[in-house]
Amino acid sequence: MRRRDFVKGILAASASAKALAAQQATGAAQASPPTAAHTMPAPGPVAPGPVPWMRGLMEVKPLQLSTLVPDTVAQTDAHFFNEQQTATMRRLCEVLMPSLKGYPGALDAGTPEFLDFLIGVSPRDRKQMYLSGLDWLDAEAQRRFFTAFAKMTNLQADALIRPWLRTWMTDHPPTEEHAEFVNAAHTDIRTATINSQAWNDAARARGRNSTGVDLYWYPVDPDVHRDLTTAVGAMRPVENK
């Protein structure tokens, strides 16, 4: 285990110790007789038990535990898109990013559920683009093929999607209505799939290294007073009702 994980372990232990100390301190305060300590320099915090609570943590060897990302064993609970939008999204994922050459497709990678989460915590304009885009796809399917998008054949879906595909340079995606949604959804579906645990597992099963490996920066001395209300608000899923 890396040093950081060790430090996290210490912090977790510290938090538990503080909670327990808080519980025990009440009783200890009631039971303690008055002393002359008020005239002495304030001592450092002392654990109420017979053993200093941090004893041994400086010397402990890192825990040899191989941890999992939750996607390895768990499903994302989706609740942003409504039932019809979810069905449309699942079919769109299936069409745009099928399983190929032994790598998982978007459905195998849990992409529809992940995007339900991601879009649900995204800014309002991105939410709206997805909601109206999925509704538009389904309406077009009904108008032109008299069926739901979720039930379209690959050929029918292609007839709806292909006219809106564009080429574009980084930072300059198309902005025209429908093309914006189709190309953004395509990019998001690809990214969510290729960056998934399922894709990583498939790469490793083929003897390849983990995909998309890079240097991740933890917060450096994060500001404990930082007001996150705005940011947290942006993160809170909003029901699509």
């Binding site: 564009r166 080429t167 996150l228």
Partner: protein, 523 residues
């Protein structure tokens, strides 16, 4: 309680602050450096991870860093969060203010492109009549460029072009790949010179204040530094008119503190420096402070494919390497639709093509990605934005940051000069690609929003006339002789060049001047 007056207070630790600290301490002058953020320890603060293990699968937390196009989920924690340090702008005139407050600032993360300005920039008005000349010329700065290039180990090739001044280079004798040779040949036919680019090798791949400048200052024993302190204001002694104190806030505890200083060197990074001075209400008798905000246009460009490199035939002799087309417009002739000029970065890529270069999906797209792998060649503009009085920053009294410091309001936009320049650049890039026999996959004429280049410059420009400029030719305040601004705020014009080498050279030059003035007792 401490009652010390420090000799020189340096605010900021990036390339300019680091250079000032190095020069001053090596001359025996004690310095105290204040930095708004913490010291990063890569061994403690980072971990190599697969993207699949990140909370948002590499998408970045939605809603954060909307103006930092360069950010991703791996590096999101290194940038200044604009919710914490906000700035304001008109909705129809967005600005990408990209900031780093870690010790070393943006010198930790930059492209390494290392160019000198030429006299087409220093003396631009004399050449074409637009704007203002700098109060200095290339000849004034050249000795400092040479020393900076040695420290940063700039690699390059000499061409003898006046608009692309040669320097003190680690020789670049690398051969062109054949794809680049074809692009070079196409350029020659059209009178467009494709050269080798120039970049800082640094040491062990890093070319930052934290490994090339600050260690020298620390070694003198003359540099002390305080991280995590946000400077709110500088104050001036009413009797002497000199700046004498900095008031700052402990970033973590919010404790307000002050430190006295004999000299203050501001190096907080162009707009943060100007914000501090505007909030302090000092050094602006000219009324020019905040005006003439400039940068460079990026984002317009072209992607093409080299046909004979497709299907994994892009071997190292075919693909790889890059080049630079230095400014060629408005040198010996006059362009009809825009003043000044641009450069183009050219890269012959050996990696994957982006999916959005193709209007396809599913198996068809995958087949194209497989075929085009290692065959793309890109061209991107670096264009000069003209200095205009109306492009400016001011203090927004309705908005404060997390430490209750008034925020900056940025009002700037590109005009037809920049848009026409971008269009010309893309058309030139495409014409060369087509002449070379390459397939153009995608092109884009629209520049990214102002600020994207992270080359914001000006707003405390230098000049000989105290009525029309904030600083003199030594980066010294016209109004307050013990106040120096040594970062990009001093620029008079932007040029097309990455400004890092110029910022470093001017900071070195200014610090040596300051040391001499202190020795003589003038400051």
């Amino acid at each position: 309680m401490a009652d010390e007056t420090v000799d020189v207070l340096i605010i900021g630790s990036g390339h300019s602050g680091g250079m000032a600290a190095k020069i001053l301490t090596e001359k025996g002058i004690s310095c105290l450096m204040l930095n708004a953020g913490p010291v990063a320890d890569v061994h403690k603060d980072t971990e190599v991870k697969p993207v699949s293990s990140l909370p948002f699968r590499g998408f970045k937390q939605p809603g954060i860093l909307p103006h930092v196009f360069q950010s991703n989920e791996f590096n999101a924690n290194t940038w200044v969060d604009e919710k914490e340090v906000p700035y304001t702008y008109d909705a129809d005139k967005p600005y990408n203010w990209v900031r780093v407050r870690l010790f070393g600032g943006r010198s930790l993360f930059w492209s390494r492109q290392s160019f000198r300005l030429s006299d087409y920039e220093f003396k631009g008005k004399s050449h074409d009549g637009y704007g203002d000349d700098w109060p200095i010329s290339l000849a004034d700065v050249a000795p400092y460029y040479s020393r900076v290039e040695e420290i940063f180990r700039v690699t390059g090739r000499a061409y003898g072009l006046p608009q692309y001044p040669d320097g003190n280079f680690v020789p670049d004798n690398s051969p062109w790949s054949s794809s680049m040779q074809r692009y070079v040949a196409a350029g020659e036919k059209m009178g467009v010179r494709v050269c080798k680019a120039r970049s800082s090798l640094g040491v062990d791949g890093l070319a930052s204040s934290v490994n090339l400048l600050l260690p020298d200052a620390i070694a003198t024993g003359k540099l002390r530094a305080i991280p995590n302190v946000v400077v709110r204001e500088l104050s001036v002694d009413k009797n002497t008119g000199l700046v004498n104190e900095a008031h700052f806030i402990d970033r973590l505890s919010r404790r307000e503190m002050s430190v006295k200083a004999r000299v203050v060197v501001v190096a907080a990074g162009t707009l943060e420096s100007t914000r501090l001075l505007l909030n302090s209400k000092i050094g602006n008798s000219s009324g020019v402070m905040g005006h003439y905000l400039i940068d460079q246009i990026y984002g317009a460009g072209m992607i093409c494919s080299v046909p004979d490199a497709r299907d994994r035939k892009g071997t190292p002799d075919v693909m790889g390497g890059g080049g630079l087309i230095p400014r060629f417009r408005n040198i010996d002739s006059k362009a009809k639709e825009f003043a000044r000029g641009y450069a183009l970065n050219i890269y012959s890529n050996t990696g994957p093509a982006a999916p959005h270069y193709f209007a396809a999906y599913g198996e068809e797209l995958q087949n194209q990605l497989d075929s085009y792998y290692g065959s793309t060649l890109s061209a991107g503009i670096m264009g000069e934005v003209l200095a205009r009085h109306e492009n400016h920053v001011s203090i927004d009294k309705t908005q404060v940051d997390a430490w209750d410091i008034p925020a900056l309001r940025i009002e700037t936009k590109y005009t037809s000069n920049e848009f026409n320049m971008a269009r010309d650049a893309v058309n030139v890039a495409v014409a060369l690609a087509e002449d070379a026999g390459f397939e153009v996959l995608v092109k884009n004429y629209d520049p990214n929003p102002p600020g994207y280049s992270i080359h914001e410059l000006g707003t405390c420009r230098m000049g000989d006339d105290a009525k029309t400029s904030v600083l003199n030719k030594w980066n010294q305040s016209h109004d307050i002789k013990n106040l120096f601004v040594v970062d990009g705020a001093a620029f008079v014009s932007a040029g097309w060049q990455n400004p890092t080498m110029t910022i470093l050279a001017l900071a070195m030059r200014s610090a040596e001047y300051l040391a001499e003035q202190m020795r003589m007792g003038n400051v």
